[in-house]
């Protein structure tokens, strides 16, 4: 288990320019939904973008967090989703 705030803090630290939104999906503090918009993702495949996020979370992914539904966007891609 991990406080959603702590997950958000780890991600904000790794993506300082980014917009980070973390939700606790089940209320049990181990299934999270995260959306990150950052310049760090520019020019990277979706696989590489997610690998960056996993690296930022480090050990938290090995135990405390059981599931993480990830959405990563470059600022340009995010602007498009808002139409």
């Amino acid at each position: 288990m991990m406080e959603p705030e702590k997950v958000r803090a780890l991600l904000s630290e790794a993506f300082p320019d980014g917009e980070v939104v973390v939700e606790d999906m089940t209320g049990t503090k181990d299934h999270f939904d995260a959306r990150i918009v950052s310049e760090a993702f520019v020019g990277k495949s979706r696989l590489e973008q997610h690998q960056l996020v996993y690296a930022a979370l480090g050990d938290a992914m090995h135990g405390p967090i059981h599931a993480l539904a990830l959405k990563t966007y470059t600022p340009a891609a995010w602007a498009k989703t808002k139409g």
Partner: protein
């Protein structure tokens, strides 16, 4: 990472073909996300090998590090990590999965 383990991981992944590292087997998946990927691979008619990481804790831990990917399932095609359930789902919807797996 332990050299022997890395060698074993590389051999398991292979240089060609489709390998799904999953919880359970393709006949009997033991996780909803693994089951979904099996279903999508079957849907596009892919020929794939399944590796049950629940039966091999050493491989399971080693693969997380090797792939820089902490969760399962993990789909490998021709020696390269394609992704987990989310990415495979997107590729299935866009038709990319079918073109990747039925080329040549």
């Amino acid at each position: 990472m332990d050299e022997e383990l890395e060698k074993r991981i590389k051999e398991t992944i292979g240089e060609s073909g489709v390998v799904l590292f999953m919880k359970g087997s393709k006949i009997f998946p033991q996780c909803g996300f693994s089951a979904r990927v099996v279903h999508m691979l079957k849907d596009v008619g892919a020929d794939f090998r399944d590796v049950n990481i629940l039966q091999d804790p050493e491989l399971r831990e080693g693969l997380k590090e090797y792939s820089k990917w902490p969760t399962f399932p993990q789909l490998y095609v021709d020696g390269k990590l394609v992704g987990g359930c989310d990415i495979v789902t997107d590729m299935h919807q866009s038709g990319e999965l079918k073109s990747l797996l039925t080329k040549g």
